[in-house]
Symmetry: C2
Subunit: 462 residues, 2 copies
């Protein structure tokens, strides 16, 4: 998606709410000439929001009175269902107008979400070259650089003077997604250098591009995945990055505004994985019940069956429990505290691995830190718990001691498992996010109960 340079925010400027109301009112009354006059000053993002509130017939009328480039801009910001409805309702010529002005990456994003009849209808209305290109782009793997990039960039030749380069930007820049980073290519489209428009503007007219361009370019390959791309953007603070094919030919660019969206998507995925769900990019409210259920059921089943083993441990010790039924009443507290202590550690480590601040080689540093932290936390919890159950709860001394010993070691075990398992997963090329709270809890539960009943057997000499 292109950067947004227009900034008529209805949402923020004075009387903004009134302005939206006013336009809705004008549409209601059918005063479309007035609507057009007002709406052209609005930001396309705000118009897209307005579209969501219109009934479908009126939406088509308003779309038709928009200037062509604005119509394309608005189209790229409205939800998929509305886009689908529009394409189904408008003429071939109108489809052509929208897609002529739409940025190429927005076209691809749109087509990826549409059923085949809509894709066909759109492809029918694009020229041969674009059609070939679209088909090629639709074949890049999901989340690869190829599927994110756009082809609308400024390319220069290294022999150009600064004046010629700026003239070239003036002549070709109108349709480009960004004109702020220009890519220097040779006659075979091989990437030779990169130069910012800033540097061009701040240089003398007669300077040759070759002499001021950066030659050691950071680039990505069409098949690189989005995790690599976002980490490079974060590291270097780029506005855009070039994408090359296997022969180092420049085929597209990725821009920072898309990266902002992708960072959010990646975080959402991590949140989902860490809560034991299959990740999905689709918004919650727009996902149907069956799909939501499908994403949740598998992990719940796996974890439920794992918890069987924990149950078997209790059954093994049923004599202990028969003699001291009160022991059962501390099981929830021990399990919950173990789970919480483990999930604190695993969350910090998984996050650290995700943003690149913790690396597999830090495993011993993490182990040492978690040992110390778990000692401190374990002692504090144990003391509070002893006071609570022995003095206030009037629990038998030996039982109180059993609970407290178990509590202390549960916290240690949980924090060490939470700290180490995500790193071990990473070393074995498994996504560390699955070593989050749910799985750690299941593991720690089993260990806690073995510890608890063993200590009880020993201390209470059953």
């Amino acid at each position: 998606m292109g950067h947004n340079y227009q900034s008529g925010s209805v949402a923020l400027s004075k009387g903004s709410y009134k302005m939206k109301e006013m336009i809705l009112n004008l549409i209601e009354k059918g005063k479309y000439a007035d609507v057009r006059k007002e709406i052209v000053d609005m930001n396309v993002v705000d118009i897209a929001q307005l579209f969501e509130e219109l009934d479908k017939q009126k939406l088509l009328v308003v779309l038709r009175i928009l200037p062509k480039d604005m119509a394309s801009g608005v189209f790229s910001y409205i939800p998929n269902e509305l886009q689908k409805y529009i394409i189904e309702s408008i003429t071939d010529k109108e489809i052509k107008n929208i897609f002529d002005k739409l940025f190429f990456d927005d076209t691809i994003d749109f087509l990826e979400e549409m059923p085949s009849n809509i894709v066909k209808k759109v492809l029918k209305n694009t020229d041969e070259d674009t059609r070939i290109l679209i088909n090629q782009f639709l074949n890049y793997p999901e989340n690869s650089a190829g599927s994110i990039m756009t082809i609308e960039f400024v390319d220069l030749k290294k022999e150009m003077t600064v004046k010629q380069a700026i003239q070239h930007i003036k002549e070709t820049g109108v349709d480009k997604e960004t004109i702020y980073t220009c890519y220097v290519i040779d006659n075979n489209r091989k990437l030779e250098g990169v130069i910012s428009t800033r540097k061009l503007i701040l240089s003398e007219d007669t300077t040759i591009v070759r002499d001021i361009m950066e030659k050691d370019v950071v680039y990505i390959n069409t098949y690189d995945d989005r995790e690599k791309i976002t980490s490079l953007f974060k590291k270097y603070d780029f506005l855009s990055m070039p994408v090359v094919d296997s022969e180092c030919r420049l085929v597209g660019i990725v821009t920072v505004d898309d990266i902002v969206d992708i960072i959010d998507q990646e975080n959402t995925e991590d949140f989902q994985k860490m809560a034991a769900m299959q990740p999905s990019e689709k918004e919650y409210l727009k996902t149907n019940t069956m799909v939501l259920a499908k994403h949740r059921i598998i992990w719940l089943l796996i974890l439920m069956i794992s918890a069987t083993f924990t149950g078997n441990i209790i059954r093994k010790f049923d004599e202990v429990l028969q003699s001291f039924v009160v022991l059962a009443s501390f099981i929830p507290m021990l399990m919950d505290t173990g789970g919480n202590a483990g999930s604190q550690s695993s969350t910090l480590i998984i996050r650290g691995l995700a943003i690149g601040k913790i690396r597999p080689k830090d495993v011993f540093k993490v182990l040492w830190k978690e040992l110390q932290v778990s000692c401190l936390v374990g002692i504090a919890l144990t003391v509070v718990n002893f006071v609570r159950i022995y003095y206030f709860g009037k629990t038998d001394l030996l039982i109180s001691v059993t609970v407290c010993i178990t509590l202390f070691f549960t916290v240690m075990l949980a924090k060490i498992a939470g700290g180490i398992l995500p790193i071990i997963a990473k070393i074995f090329k498994i996504d560390p996010a699955i070593m989050a709270s749910p799985l750690i809890t299941t593991i720690v539960d089993a260990l806690t109960l073995i510890l608890y009943f063993s200590t009880a057997t020993w201390l209470l000499s059953i």
Copy 2:
């Protein structure tokens, strides 16, 4: 921090690893003339990484051979401890050189992290005007627009022609953080409009800025918090946004590269809160043990004590348990499944609220969705569980039924609590992230056990 236009990535280009090794080698041998020749082609981000591997004495030597603007660039990318060491070790004149070239927001970021003796040493070496400005900026609340913004932006007057405007950019742009969005102000510095350099370059020389600038500007106030700022950047795909004071005077801008970092920080905070920790921006490996323990202990204590109530429930039913000790062995499975089912829902809802895709008014939609999903998931889990414990586990029929009934309603309860409680928190202006897995688990545990033992009492007619 300024966008990075330089791109000599050692990390990516061919022979990159070798290049770093070579430079380290040259430094080792003291061949600093050669080091300088090689290093000036490198990206400041990569040089900063190199610095972390040098011993401190050599680091100072390498810093001194860097061109002034590169030295400032590298300085802004190295860790706080190294920055501190450098300021303590270099002369006043060298400090002045570094801060003259450092972007203003990087200066503020640095000073915010430093102890007062370092701050004083830096302030001593800045001119009067900058000192006043720095003190003013250090007083903005943490995470406010004022504390994030930079003052290095291009301002134009609306009477200028496009040619004059571009000339003005050429003359003043060198020190600006971005030259791609220009802000039009009146004589009282009131913000009147905004225009992209793209539009200037693509317009005729004689066009007047007033006629092509956007007048309805999206701006933020110095006291707006970063959550609002990031959501506006995401909504409008801006490269930068203007920050105004209470009288609508332009005082600074926020740029997209800082937003990328802030989005990551905000997500990290959410992860931490959802795992029942006090949020902290500091990296795990750089946080000391006491601080880590402090951030974790409070929530662990609260949740441990809450789990007492769950224990009391079991104690109330100790007769049931005495008669059917086998009931205890299903407690872990029921608690874990409830916790996991609840955390799936709460995570999706908390995330949806955080990125603005779910709003408080959607509460009934969420309730309805979770009801349906929990029915589907509950039935599947219950069937599998029944087969497992009755047919394979040879558990008594009535006990199997008790467990299955409890399981089904636990999943329902958990998913509804997980879906609704974050929204209720939001309505009461409490951070929804605290309604995550740990708290939901504690609540669901108590409900599950009441349900379990009540069903047992009734079915097993104890």
